[in-house]
Amino acid sequence: MSVLIFIDQAEGHVKKSSYEALSYGSQVAKQLGVAAEGLVLGTVSDDLSFLGKYGVSKIHQVANEALNTVDTQVYAKAIADAVNASGATVVVLSHNTTGKAVAARVSARLKAGLVAGAIALPDTTNGFVVKKSVFSGKAFANVSITSAIKIISLNPNSFHVVAGEGSATVSPLNIDVTAGKVKVTATNKVSGEVSLTEADIVVSGGRGLKGPENWGILLDLAKELGAATACSRPVGDAHWRPHHEHVGQTGVQIAPNLYIAIGISGAIQHLAGVNRSKVMVVINKDPEAPFFKAADYGIVGDAFEVVPKLTEEIKKMKANS
């Protein structure tokens, strides 16, 4: 019995979301009194023993180059084989774009119940119950997994990364890797920017900014905070910003620690994508904007005056601390 944590990597490096999954999985293992182990698919340039500081004793690695690109069909078989080889009874993945697809396949392959998008540790006092958000963040469901093997995909930014001491042993795992049917022909990475779903802080703009030429003040603020940028749907639809930045019910759903909404009215469909943020700040010149009902902090004012000041004050605060 063990908890097996899937460690997501890209271009040879472990992804940030994996540290969270490792911290969470190690905690689950502690709760169950079993070992926490990691699984890496593909070849990496990092020395993986450092992952021990997130609580895992052992890393299984299938160092096969065919696994350096993600084909969910190939991944699901590899993970399921690793689960069987290691005797794991709980599998933890991040609920990021890769994890969402892979967790579902592994669940069906192993007939193992899945809680997709968990936001808290399981309650194991009576069965195995995991909390997730439902109705686009408007409620939570406590889902009981009744199968022998249990799979949890963890919503990004819902668990603290816990780094301690320790180093893990890395052991190669020998399993058959099948050939995939998906051929990747092009990749367009938005380089140098913080990925929206993994970001700690997100600065987002709406129609209140009037036009794409005014985004400079928002980008300056995002840069100062090391934040990712997002926008409301009309902004994406009007091509003021790239469409993959659009958050909300029909766009990307995010749960950062801090969400700053600038010139966004706070329509229910917008909030559906952002209301899992820990802290929400709204800057809007209309005191009646619905966003003020959902936010934790707010300034009623003109974005063109308030946002540059905010960037300045953050600079000052950083200089003094």
Partner: protein, 247 residues
């Protein structure tokens, strides 16, 4: 070319979310039901576009739901699609639903199975991947563009921090989101035609469920917004730093 479009029924986004029977059941009182937006706007419309381009394409719609899902499936038929299948079950277990769809898919040998990116009520984003595993097909999730060649599909999909273009041999399972197509409104002719299109009801296959919902909870009420004056931005920074510990 045979296409299967998975259609689910969800409460309208503006619905009030409440629970009953000791927070174990969703309270449907006054809820307006809609086709899950990702299914209606993106995957269904893209399937219809494929048929408009090539008349040999047939479109089947499938929903796993009780009789109260029929208005939803009729609306989907009004938008387009040749016939519909309803698997008569009200289960919310993703594996159970996926396995029912996979059973039908195995009988009919579809070239493309479309799902939405996720349901806006249970937010699993799982059913497409599960179906793909059960029918042993490749799965492209979070597609933003879908084009068909003779025996392959060219699909653009979202990845962490960008997009990826891939080519995959059919059959394939694809989950669709914004970009794949544009929302349409059903017209009168479609609505009339939908009344006579076949809607087959089948009983669910014997499949185990793997999860159950033990209870629901509503989030704690927000304390209310703390307003800071526009000429005192420094105070907001102090609050975010010292009180919220967010920066």
């Amino acid at each position: 070319m045979k296409v299967l479009v998975c259609i689910s029924k969800t409460p309208d986004t503006t619905s009030k979310i409440a629970f009953k029977e000791g927070n174990t059941k969703f309270d449907e009182t006054g809820v307006q039901w809609i086709i899950n937006p990702y299914d209606e706007w993106y995957s269904l419309v893209r399937a219809i576009e494929l048929k408009e381009k090539d008349a040999t394409v047939t479109i089947h719609l499938i929903t796993v739901g009780l009789a109260d899902a029929e208005p939803i499936i009729r609306k989907a038929l009004a938008l387009g699609g040749d016939e519909a299948i309803r698997v008569n079950s009200d289960s919310h277990d993703s594996y159970f639903i996926a396995a029912q769809i996979a059973e039908i898919a195995k009988q009919n040998q579809y070239d493309i199975i479309f799902t939405g990116k996720e349901t806006i009520d249970y937010n699993g984003s799982s059913i497409g991947g599960m179906i793909a595993e059960l029918v042993d097909a490749p799965y492209i999730s979070l597609a933003t563009k879908f084009d068909l060649n003779a025996t392959t599909a060219n699909i653009t999909r979202e990845i962490e921090g960008g997009e990826e273009v891939c080519e995959v041999a059919l059959p394939v399972v694809v989950s669709c989101q914004k970009g794949v197509a544009e929302q349409r409104i059903p017209n009168m002719r479609g609505i009339m035609a939908a009344r006579t299109k076949p809607l087959k009801v089948v009983e669910p296959a014997a499949i185990d469920t793997l999860t159950t919902i033990a209870s629901f909870e509503l989030p704690p009420a927000k304390a209310g917004v703390k307003l800071v004056a526009a000429d005192n931005v420094a105070e907001l920074v102090r609050l975010l730093h010292e009180e919220a510990k967010a920066i």
